[in-house]
Symmetry: C2
Subunit: 205 residues, 2 copies
């Protein structure tokens, strides 16, 4: 299978970490977003939303959306389990993953599209009011996470799951490219960060 990827992009990173955890081999195909290759007709046939990552199977069928790709991978390679085993755990991990996505990722995204890199590249005026709000939401979510990591080692409880993959990708992207590094005083959050960053899958992707 092929993974359409762009080095440094946070969503493909989620899938690459997931693939590494599963021990699955794949061919990475570079889709140069800086050149707009993800908006060309040939790519839009694979994903009409014009986004990466996309997983292309050997029979040519394609899947987009990071978590959708990961669900497919969990189904073809169930171990190590990253989405939950019993009904409550399946719901709980989905809930935690969605909270990271809907309350942190979305806000990092607003700060990103209204930050200097994107507004300069697209030559548009930033929506500064929206960015002020999203920056504050990110900071507030970091504090919530720090509180939660005082009670559990991983996002969804006592073990590493897909929700940790979503979080490490959001935190690292926010810190490197959106100038939203968590405050040094958030010790529980930084301990979690060290714990997860020590994994081979995270170090190598």
């Amino acid at each position: 299978m092929k993974l359409y990827d762009y080095p440094g992009a946070p969503n493909p990173r989620r899938v690459k970490i997931f693939l590494h955890e599963k021990g699955l081999a794949y061919e990475a195909v570079n889709c140069d977003m800086a050149k707009g290759e993800h908006k060309l007709p040939a790519f839009l046939e694979k994903n009409p939303s014009g986004k990466i990552p996309v997983l292309e199977l050997d029979d040519g069928r394609c899947l987009a959306e990071s978590v959708a790709i990961c669900r497919y991978l969990e189904a073809i390679q169930p171990e190590p389990n990253l989405f939950g085993r019993d009904p409550f755990e399946l719901g709980h991990i989905e809930m935690r993953n969605r909270q990271i996505e809907l309350e942190l990722w979305t806000q990092v995204g607003v700060s990103w599209v209204n930050g200097p890199i994107v507004t300069k590249m697209w030559q548009v005026e930033p929506n500064t009011r929206a960015k002020r709000a999203s920056d504050a939401n990110v900071r507030r979510y970091h504090e919530r996470l720090d509180h939660e990591f005082g009670q559990s080692d991983y996002v969804a409880g006592g073990r590493f799951t897909v929700a940790d993959i979503s979080l490490i990708s959001a935190i690292d992207f926010g810190a490197k490219l959106v100038d939203l590094q968590p405050d040094e005083g958030l010790e529980n959050l930084w301990q979690w960060h060290a714990r997860v960053s020590a994994r081979d899958s995270v170090k190598n992707n």
Copy 2:
């Protein structure tokens, strides 16, 4: 089990349609959002994100996030299947559901929080630039859907799934409360709307 609900709110509606499709009984508990009950300490213990719906199990454990609740319900009551059966279908339905959420729901949400109802209730100035962009994104997504429903009867292919529940809730909420009814000329989209609205689960919730 109990479902914390607020009549008219679109996310609890998704879960109520899902419960109806599964034939599962539950007790609806009113959480009066207009009075801010979803932000009170007793509710935040159930869901620190301060949002509805929340499903409370008979043993007191709680699940938030509509799709997470639905995944739990799918696991305890597998039929009728609404999330997919084989690996590709599991990924495909997740992808389609996420596209509806990330490309349509989020934009309806921006129009909602910057629309007259919310800005009057919260006594804040709307971010008119953000609303103009989200209104346009919603209209554009309606056109994409109309094109897609020329090729398949339901969001994720030939049968009704969780992705149709997400879409009907987004479309109806946008039409009733955000003044973003799909254009009359989008016939394929309206045919899908009639097809899905004829279901008992949708009619009664």
